[in-house]
Structures are given as C-alpha cells and as structure tokens.
Amino acid sequence: MSAAPALAVEDLCVEFRTRSGVVKVLDQVGFSIAKGETVALVGESGSGKSVTAFAVMGILDAAGRVTSGTAMFGGSDLLALPERELAELRGRELSMIFQNPRTALNPIRRVGEQIADVLVRHGGATRAKAPALAIEMLKKVRIPDPERRAKAYPFELSGGMCQRVMIAIAIACRPSLLIADEPTTGLDVTTQAVIMDLIAELAREIGTATLFITHDLTLAAEYCDRIIVMHAGHVVESAPSATLFSAARHPYSARLLAATPGESGALASLASIPGSLPDLRRADLPSCRYSERCERRLDACAEPLPRTAVGEAHIVACRNPL
C-alpha cells in the first residue's frame, strides 16, 4: 500500500458498561483499507465485528465507550470528531449497509422518499430534483420498474429489493468508505449472489473502499481482496484472501476454515472449534484471548500479543503460528 489508506484504524479499544461489569469488547484492534480495496472482517458471533464498524461510524450504543485508539479517515480522526462534523460525513463520505434491510428502512415512508432524503441532506440536491435522482438510483441498483417501485413502502418489497434500496441509499452520495454489515444474511443464495455482485460492481465504479462484515468465510474470499479474522475483540490474522485459504497461520483461522462446509469432503472431515469465547467481563483475561481454546499454547503466550508480519500483507497475532 503506497498511497495513504482510505481508513486506518489503530489501537481501537471499546468497552461496554453492563449491570454485571465492564465488558472489554474490543482490544487494540488495528487495520487499514486502501482506496478501492474490499476488506472482509470475519469471525464468530460475539467477536466484535459489528462493534468495530459501529465505533468507526460513531454510532455505538450509549453503553459503549471508545477508551483509546484512532480511526484516520481523509486526514481527520473519526473517533475524535465532534458529533456535528461526523454527522456531516455520515451519508456522504461514510455510509453503511445494515444487516436487516426491513428494519433499517423507515417502514412508513416510501422508498423513493428515503433515497431522496439522503440526496437532499448530503448530496446537495434540491427537493424538486431529488425524486428524479432517486429513481435514477433505483435504476442503478437494477430494480425493475423503478418509477413504480419508488412509490412503494418497504413492506411491499421483497427482502432482496429492500436490500437494493439500502444499497441505493448507501451509495447515493458516492461515499469514499462503505461498510456493509452482513448485507446478505437472511437472503436466498441466488439473491445473495446478485446483491454481492452489485455491491462489488458499484464499489468498483465509484472507487469506494469497502469493509465487508460477514461470518461466511467463503463469501468473504470470493468478494474481498483481504480478510481480517477477529476473535473475542482481537484481530488475530490479516491476509490476502487466497493466502488465508491456502496458508492460514493463526490456529483460530485454521480451525474456522476446517469448520466451514465446502465443495468437497464429508461431514466427518469437518471439525468444530473446541471451547467457546472467553467471558470478556473477566478481570484476568489472558493477553491472547484464544489461548484457553488453543492446542498450540506455549508458556510465552502469556506475554503481550505480538503482531508478526509473516508474508506479503500477512500479519498474524500469535506466538506459535502454524
């Protein structure tokens, strides 16, 4: 990566206050995305994928708090920006596709109006011109009969169509960073393929850097240049997609790959991951949060987590990598 990255997150730590104590959800998360690059964030549920995205977007739940870290985006630190300025960036420079399009869209406004709102608020369009531009956007995400569909309410559209509307809203102002949080969970495989193709194509067209959050490793491998594997709030490995599939170095990534059903192989050849995520409220969390599940644990694993470069753009946080 020669040019300045579109987004550079460093040392991001996030805590949540709960009734049963402080949960250390993210610990020193760091990664960067180059302009035009598509990067996947993968991991089991509870590994902190969505929280990372929410922290970058500045839309963490009120109980959550960023305790340290920076997220450099176009010369400014998103984590330090006042809410007013951040609100200006969101929708125009930064945008997000949410997991469940039906709940993310406003149920009592027509979808065309919802797209027009973004264009007026962030895209500098006038109220008079916005409806026509909204129809343009619907055309762009290949919704058939866009003039009629612009007047539809979300409940009148299928899940795939709603997700297209979400995408139209997200890319309406040609953002420089697009975060897609499990954009195809709950959609059919055929629809998933079409939606993923669409996101990839539009991102390429407008040169957007994309952060794609998923738990589906194969999907990540197909659409992303690089994959970042998270476990219990740590980035454990980051590698180009092909490298991760052929030569994963972190024991957790390897286990995750071994549990993913693929093209060939029998059920017996798949192996689960022993143990479960550690309780992140514990005061005595080990420095490597995977160490209690790990079969390659050494005494040295108690020391602070290393970040070793083991190849071209391939970083692993393990004292005893494969």
């Binding site: 089991e44 549920s45 290949r142 058939p144 299928s158 899940g159 169509m161 059919d188 495989v189 055929t190 629809t191 998933q192 393929a193 079409v194 193709d197 738990h215 589906d216 490793l217 194969t218 999907l219 491998a221 197909e222 659409y223 997609s241 092909a242 599939f245 286990r255 995750l256 549990a259 993913t260 059903p261 693929g262 093209e263 029998a266 059920l267 017996a268 798949l270 192996a271 689960s272 991951i273 479960s276």
Partner: protein, 358 residues
Amino acid sequence: MSVPLLDIAELRKHFEVGAKRGAWRRFRDRLSGKDAPTPKLHAVDDVSLTIGRGETVGLVGESGCGKSTLVRLINRLLDPTDGVIRLGATELSLFRARDFAANENRARIQMVFQDAGDSLNPRYTAFDAIADPLRRLKRVGGDALVARVDALADMTGLPRELLSRFPHQLSGGQKARVGIARAIAVEPELLILDEPTAALDVSVQVVILQLLEDLKARLGMSYLFVSHDLNVVRLLCDRVLVMYLGKIVEAGPAAEVFARPLHPYTRALISAIPQADPARRAGRLRLSGEPRSPIDPDPHVCRFHGRCPIGTTVCAQSAPALRRMTPSRDVACHFADTAVTLNTVQDSSPAKNGSGEP
C-alpha cells in the same frame, strides 16, 4: 423398491387471497354477472415425492417457493387443497389438521424448527420442553419421565445440569440441542428439519450436523432437511428436491444433482454458492429479475419463464412436466434432454464448462 415411509401424490395447497366476500356479496356479484372467482395463491402445486426409510432428503429453493407450506402440509399443520399424504400404511391426509395434535400418528412425524430460540417456550425449562411431548403423546410420568429426559439429554450432548435452565440462559448450540431432543423424544419415524443450523456459527453448526447424522444412524429415522445452504445439504442428504414456485423442478441423488444439474434453476442455485477459488468461478449463472407471481399462475407457462437463461417461446406456451431423465433423476424442463447431452459433452471436454446455450 420397498414401500417408502412417506408417499405424497399430487399434493396441492392453494390459499385464497384478496378481500373476503360474504355470502350476500357473492350472491349480488353473481346476479350482476361479476362473479369472478377469488384469486388463489398456488403455494404447493401438484407435488409428488417419496422418502424411504432411513433416507435423508434435502428440500431446497428460495424463500417464497413453497418449502415451508409443503413442510407444514406433511407435518399436518395445514390441510391440503387436494392430494394424498401417506405415512407407511396410514393415509394422513384423511385427518384434519386441527385434530391432528390429539391423533395417535402425531408422534410419528416431528419437527426441528428453524430458530431454536424462538421455537422454545420461554417459560419452560429445558427439562419441560423435552418432557412436554412425552407427557402429551406417550403419557410418560414420574421417574420414567425423568429417566427418559436424562437419556435424551445424554443422547443429544446436552449436559444434564442445564436441564433446569430457561431458554434465555442457554447458548445457541444448547438451544438447538434442546430442540432436537424434544423432537426425537417420542421416537418419530420422520423428522423434519427446517434450517436447523441457519442461526448458528460454523463451529457450532458442524457439531449439530454431526449430532444429527449420528442420531439418524442410531435411531433409524428418515430426515426431510429443508435448507438453503447448499453446502450443508450436500454434506447431509442422500437425495435432493429442488423447488421453484410451488413445483418440484428437479429431483435426484444429491451428489449427481450437484455435479450435473439438469434444470437451469438448479444450475443457478449451484452457481450462487460462494467460491473461494477464483478458478472455479468461470461460467457462472446469475438470475435476473424477480420470480413470477404465484397468484393464479398460467398453467400453460413454465414457472421459471422470464427468469430462465435458456427459455424460448415454447416455455411460454406449455409448462414442462416433471419427467424421468435417467433412472434416478427427474427434471421439469423442456430442454433437459439437451442438458443431459450437454453434460456428457462437458464431461469429456472440461474446457467447455458453463456454455449454457441449448
């Protein structure tokens, strides 16, 4: 071939849609000559299938294709419009769905629901959830009940100390185990699994799938496995049925169907499976457009017409029937013969892979 466990013939379920008209309104409409029949949504249309004893059959298709309706018909939660459902020697379609809960055959078909969290009663402990069908259907009580529930917990790998917990105190994998234990408690002959692992992480999914495989071998049940994760269907199923808009469009042994799909919709489904290996992404098929309306579909038009990459005018004039193409495979497509030959050509020259012209 021996007598199949489940035999379904020409099963139909049509739902009336649109505003309900009262008797007076219908009479008035008939007098004024406006007596249009109520539009009907053809959710399941002329479906015939069999499931053998000890067989695992996968049912795949996109949402809205009628999978769930078919499952609810088989499970006798819905009354069919027309058709026959036979389980062994018993004709289940003769019983009404509303009385079926009290029927002696209720225990023979059980179901594992999609979301283990939502399908467990939040006010029942794991013990009560598993014991409920035993109390109701097998009249088990007292020490025998406790012993049976303990045995079921052991069988499904649920630690006994968790039996006193409520669903919200259990993890996703544990809830899935409770759902399975509850379903197998009454020793069903047919177990319907509706996306049992859709909400689980891959590492937990593997354990649950292996548990299901193991239980099937031990208890000799048949499975009807509904899923849209084709990689999972491939792992678990002997035979696969592909459904599109209320009809079965392709049926056959899972390995063969995945290796050589004959229906263009099946090809699109398989093309949509994400591929980590870029070399295998060539020649994939993407569907454009939306499915046709399932409300009063034209019986002379193929249901897939309009979205089909190889459809011609023939497809708009006559709907293809499910035909036997090879001894083990059925396909409902006018061009299935070409697909058979095309596949043989492809096998001999892999370079031509994916050229989809008829």
